[in-house]
């Protein structure tokens, strides 16, 4: 059980002990939380004592009377607000007026319970303030995590963009100083590498824009009946030159046509990424097999290659942003490291899943399952 510290600020001992009795064994629970919240109580008979306690201890909830002998409750509230304590305040007072309620709310009080109150009223108010506090803290934590993830993303991104810039700059300097000879042919390798790095950087920027648009929901979607088979065939034909270079055979096993309500651009991204990966990470003279079929509930797309494979440790991080498997076999394969993470995000837009099965040096199989509404034609 989590304990919340409650500070009761009231000059009447009867009220303080009454509230203590009501809350001592009271619990507040959330259906989705395993633990209930319980309350530990501290009492203060004046505003001055309350501020001293708040300075020394972390207090979660303050139950604050307004009519106090010295400094008034509403001024204690102002201090709490100024000092930015992570505390929720509830005013309890018998001289409740609209003016006081307005001032209290302006100064950040969460709610207002007029005296006299029944145990049920107090418990109800405590339940609501507890939930408010919990949600407030959760939201804060989540936005901190989001900031952290954003920072990590930007750090990796700047690394991924800076590496090609450094590489190109380095080659240009060598050329500028004519360090490798006086003929342009002496620099062909460096020129070609620079062009390759620029191409890579451009594809990274394009992928990143896609990813950002999908993530913040600004990518406009045009949902209509799309023929998955036609899209796949188009992807295959655009990848054919790359397959021919490595003498890779592309085998297909799918019906003549299969309709799905989808955005054709998104289907193209999925097909292009999966098929180009299957070719890029294949061995020479290998095979890529693409099977598409439906079962009772899903459209299934399976893309299987006979390539270098992915070990279990790497599979775990495969769909993460900027994940690129780095080893001798992959060092000359270009890619942004965003393709699979984009594919996964798109598939999730269709409530689908993507999984991978792979064995190093044997091959990799990607399985996409999308719950479908359309019927095969």
């Amino acid at each position: 059980m989590s304990d919340l510290k409650v500070l009761i600020v009231d000059d009447e001992p009867g009220i303080r002990s009454g509230i203590s009795r009501i809350l001592r064994n009271y619990r507040v629970g959330y259906p989705f939380l395993e633990e209930d919240f319980g309350f530990t109580l501290t009492e203060a008979e004046t505003g001055e004592i309350a501020l001293e306690i708040l300075e020394k201890q972390e207090i979660d909830i303050v139950l604050l009377d307004n009519k106090l002998p010295g400094i008034e409750g509403i001024d204690v509230l102002e201090q709490i607000n100024k000092r930015n304590y992570d505390t929720a305040v509830m005013m309890i007072t018998s001289y409740a007026s609209l003016e006081l309620a307005v001032t209290a709310t302006k100064r950040g009080a969460y709610n207002f319970v007029p005296k006299p109150f029944t145990p049920e009223e107090l418990r109800g108010a405590i339940e609501s303030i507890t939930k408010h506090l919990f949600l407030k803290r959760m939201t804060k934590k989540m936005s901190e995590t989001a900031r952290q993830i954003r920072f990590q993303f930007l750090s990796v991104l700047s690394h991924e963009l800076k590496s090609p810039i450094n590489a190109i700059e380095g080659y240009l300097k060598i050329m500028q100083e004519k360090q490798a000879g006086t003929s342009i042919d002496d620099y062909m390798h460096m020129i070609n590498r620079s062009i390759e790095r620029i191409t890579g950087m451009r594809s990274l920027i394009m992928d990143m824009l896609d990813l950002t648009r999908i993530e913040n929901g600004t990518k406009s979607r045009n949902l209509k009946e799309v023929d998955i088979i036609e899209c796949t065939k188009m992807a295959i034909s655009s990848m054919e030159p790359m397959a021919i270079q490595k003498n890779i055979k592309i085998l297909t096993d799918f019906p003549a046509s299969l309709l799905l309500t989808a955005d054709s651009n998104e289907v193209e991204i999925i097909a292009n990424n999966l098929i180009s990966n299957a070719i890029k990470y294949n061995r020479d003279n290998g095979t890529v097999t693409i099977s598409i079929f439906t079962d009772k509930t899903n459209l299934n797309i399976i893309v299987e290659d006979t390539g270098i494979g992915i070990n279990a440790e790497e599979q775990e991080f495969l769909f993460q942003e900027f994940m690129r498997i780095k080893n001798k076999k992959t060092q000359n394969i270009s890619g942004s490291g965003l393709g699979l993470s984009i594919v996964k995000k798109i598939i999730e837009l269709y409530n689908g899943t993507i999984t991978v099965e792979s064995q190093p040096d044997v091959g990799t199989k990607f399985l996409v399952k999308i719950p479908f509404k359309a019927q095969p034609v």
Binding site: S158, S163, N166, G170, Q179, N327, Q331
Partner: protein, 130 residues
């Protein structure tokens, strides 16, 4: 007998390797290169370099530190340079100047990537006591 000193260059960026190799050979050194921590460990099994220049982030974010530690374990007298872009990218600042840093970073010099060739040559000469 080959009298040229041997520099081990380890980086997962093949263009960075090709450029550092170009400069080191121009300075008169022999080079051997590796693309990863594991590949470098294989290389040093059979040949002892006179100096090693390592990238920091390779297979893992701290591959350079680990490799540096392993090189020093095997050849304590081989100077190690770690070349990295981490500081300018993450704001994470570290070096090998303080005693505390030397306790965990087993390198002789941390260099920012994008280093000028003359500066590189000067540092290599200093570490090789030439």
């Amino acid at each position: 007998m080959n009298s040229r000193k041997l520099i081990l260059i380890v980086d997962d960026d093949i263009d960075f390797i090709s450029q550092i190799k170009h400069y080191c050979e121009k300075f008169g050194y022999e080079t051997m290169t590796a693309n990863s921590e594991n590949e470098a460990l294989e290389l040093i099994k059979t040949r002892k370099p006179d100096l090693a220049m390592l990238d920091l982030m390779m297979e893992k974010d701290d591959s350079g530190f680990i490799l540096s530690y392993k090189i020093k374990q095997k050849y304590p007298d081989v100077p190690v340079i770690i070349a990295t872009a981490v500081t300018s990218e993450t704001g994470l600042i570290f070096g090998v100047e303080s005693h505390e840093e030397q306790q965990w970073i087993k390198a002789d010099l941390i260099m920012e990537k994008g280093v000028r060739p003359d500066q590189l040559q000067r540092e290599i000469k200093r570490l090789l006591k030439e």
